[in-house]
């Protein structure tokens, strides 16, 4: 058939030149077509005849019908993507569900609803809600879902996505409302997510929405803005507790070894003293015994010698005033001039005062010079 040649059905009215979109002139178009047809089939008079031809009237209708059929067929073609399924209603009645590929369905008589089924969709929700102990908490959550049953999804529920959102809000608040705040904020999240998922699926199955919940993920619950500082302070307080404890531990770790060290030092010093005292005693007694042995041999001489040695060393080291009191005359000794009357403690401590004192204690009387 020459009708199927490309270009034949492009513009049946033979558009009348550049950009003039006026209403097509039927008569003229018919004439043109007729001429063409005549030329093609070799029938009728030669090209360009103006005479009307009754025989070509049927042909014209045929062409129109054909063009209509081709157009009709053309509009019935549609593709279904790999991600999609298409629900087809023929004359209002469910016909079939189409999978991916190229399909044709009769326009006007069928309706095609394409739905993305493999793509996971997400619904993030967030808001303040009440807990069981009548506290307020902010709980963000994400529901991942997809279309499990396309037919139900299209035919059963007016607005499946809104239904999902409503059901999510309701299920989440129900579960949070039966959980204590402490649980919500801490380890109860996984359990709550599982409960929400179950509950949500139950709702949606009840609505026959054809939606499957893949996952419900509850993010970290937040206390409301107004009391967040107080919640943060609790965390800080826990840290403070640990810090205080650690500081005490470190104090303890410092003090006890130090004390042990000092204790050890005391013991060592005592041991040292003991050894020292005993050794000295042994030494001194040995010395005494040796001397005693010699003394026993010549007591008188040894005694004298020892006495004179001792007194000599005393005399050489100290200042002396010789006074002969045999004449019983009064004697005035300017002792205050000789020795400075300063407190004994100062004497002992102020070593730097000694030279001065030496100068002051200029011998008023004869002095033993070395």
């Amino acid at each position: 058939m020459a009708w199927n040649e490309p270009g034949k059905d492009k513009d049946p009215w033979g558009g009348r030149g550049g950009g003039n979109d006026g209403p097509p002139d039927l008569d003229e178009a018919f004439k043109k077509l007729q001429d063409k047809l005549n030329g093609m089939f070799g029938g009728g008079s030669g090209g360009g005849s103006n005479a009307s031809n009754n025989g070509s009237f049927g042909a014209i209708f045929a062409v129109i019908a054909l063009v209509a059929v081709v157009l009709y067929g053309f509009f019935g073609i549609y593709t279904v993507d790999a991600k999609e399924r298409a629900v087809v209603l023929r004359l209002g009645v469910f016909q079939e569900t189409m999978t991916e590929g190229l399909h044709w369905s009769a326009p006007l008589l069928t309706q095609v609803f394409k739905v993305n089924v493999t793509g996971e969709r997400q619904y993030p929700s967030k808001g303040l809600m009440l807990t069981q102990d009548e506290s307020i908490v902010e709980l963000p959550l994400t529901v991942q879902w997809n279309v499990a049953d396309v037919k139900s999804y299209v035919l059963n529920v007016a607005d499946p996505e809104t239904s999902l959102k409503h059901a999510t809000d309701s299920a989440l608040r129900h579960v949070v409302g039966s959980t204590e705040l402490e649980q919500v904020l801490s380890e109860g999240r996984a359990k709550m997510a599982a409960e929400v998922k179950l509950r949500l699926q139950t709702y949606l199955d009840n609505y026959q929405a054809g939606i499957q919940i893949i996952n419900v993920n509850i993010q970290q619950a937040q206390p409301p803005e107004e009391v967040r500082a107080n919640f943060d302070d609790v965390i800080k307080a826990k840290e403070d507790e640990t810090r205080l404890k650690n500081e005490a531990e470190s104090y303890s770790n410092g003090v006890i070894p130090e004390a042990r060290g000092r204790a050890q030092r005391l013991l060592e010093e005592a041991e040292a003293y003991k050894s020292e005292v005993v050794s000295r005693a042994e030494g001194e007694s040995a010395r005494f015994e040796n001397l005693l042995a010699e003394y026993k041999r010549a007591p008188e001489v040894t005694r004298k010698r020892l006495y004179i040695d001792a007194v000599e060393s005393v005399m050489t080291k100290s200042s002396k005033v010789m006074v002969d009191v045999s004449n019983n005359s009064m004697l005035y000794l300017p002792l205050d001039k000789m020795t400075r009357s300063v407190p004994a403690t100062v004497l002992e401590e102020a070593a730097d005062a000694r030279p001065a004192r030496e100068i002051e204690a200029k011998p008023v009387v004869r002095r033993e010079s070395r």
Binding site: L26, D27, F57, L89, G92, V93, F94, G127, M129, L130, E134, V154, N156, A158, D159, S163, A167, R173, H174, G177, S178, L181, A209, E226, D233, V234, K236, A237, D240, E241, T242, A248, S252, V255, I256, E258, A263, L267, A270, Y273, K274, V277, A281, E284, S285, A286, F288, E289, L292, Y295, L306, I308, A310, K317, S318, K320, V321, D324, E358, A361
Partner: protein, 291 residues
């Protein structure tokens, strides 16, 4: 010829118009009624292609899918007279099309308004019989089930509607109550924080005191042991001295005294006033040492 072609086109158009005005399609997701001069002659038309008499019969189609009536948040009072702001939704669908059409004229908004009023009354009832705690936590399911049953008793017969589900989306305190809730929460947290800090101080004090005690005990024990050792040393030394000196106590006293003299007069600042008649100066004036 142009008139002929026109007639052909016109007649086909008229034919099309006739077909289109007598044939109608009811989709699977729709419910439809047929009216003749405004009177119901056919209700609950099955899905598919149907024909009617043109111009006299009219088809009304309604959405037969599950509908959502989203309620405006409203205030309800619990048994202890606490106000709650409740946001709920109703899932409904047309059950009996003819009743539905008669009572609402097919206007879904009108239907939802009527339904909403009934649900609001029901909620008011249910909330008014329960405590705040029951409403918030345990009894939502129960409350909703009761409410649904109550609503369905009338909705079916009066509106031709079946209520599939009623759910509370949100139950919130009114703003002024929220503030006091926040205040309570804050107080709770403060209490907790104080507790932690106090516990920290307590533990710290316990640990430090324990350390101090250990320190004191360690040092005291060490002192005790040290003193004992010194005593042992002293005793041993004393024994040694006694053993040696008791061989000749008089001589020991003599020696020790001499030693003490030399030790006690050590420097020039010690002034001795001496009498030349003393034993030491015996030979100073008299080489014979005669007194």
């Amino acid at each position: 010829m142009s008139t002929k072609s026109l007639i052909a086109v016109m007649s086909s158009l008229i034919l099309l118009a006739l077909i289109s005005s007598s044939a109608y399609v009811v989709n699977q997701y729709e419910r439809a009624v047929v009216l003749q001069f405004g009177a119901l002659i056919k209700s609950d038309v099955t899905p598919g292609l149907h024909f009617k008499i043109p111009f006299t019969d009219r088809v009304r189609k309604f959405d037969g899918r599950l509908q959502t009536a989203d309620m405006i948040p409203a205030s309800f009072y619990t048994i202890e007279n606490k106000r709650l702001v409740v946001d709920s939704y109703i899932k409904w669908r047309i059950k009996d099309v003819s009743t539905y059409y008669r009572t609402t004229g097919g206007d879904s908004r009108l239907a939802e308004d009527r339904l909403g009023q009934r649900v609001a009354d029901g909620l008011r009832n249910q909330f008014g019989r329960r405590t705040l705690h029951d409403v918030v936590s345990g009894q939502r399911d129960e409350l909703m089930a009761e409410l649904k049953a109550t609503i369905n008793e009338t909705a079916n017969s009066l509106l031709g509607i079946e209520v599939i589900d009623i759910r509370v989306k949100r139950i919130d305190f009114p703003p002024e109550v929220s503030q006091s809730v926040f205040a309570r929460m804050a107080a709770d947290r403060e209490k907790e924080a104080r507790e932690y800090r106090a516990q920290g101080k307590e533990q710290s004090e316990v640990i430090r005191a324990d350390a101090d005690r250990k320190k004191v005990v360690l040092e005291a024990n060490a002192y005790r042991d040290a003193e004992r050792l010194r005593g042992e040393g002293d005793a041993k030394a004393a024994a040694i001295y006694a053993a040696a000196y008791s061989k000749d106590p008089e001589f020991y006293a003599f020696l020790r005294s001499l030693n003490a003299y030399t030790k006690s007069f050590k420097g020039k600042e010690d002034l001795i006033v001496v009498d030349p008649k003393s034993d030491f100066f015996r030979y100073l004036n008299d080489p014979q040492g005669k007194k």
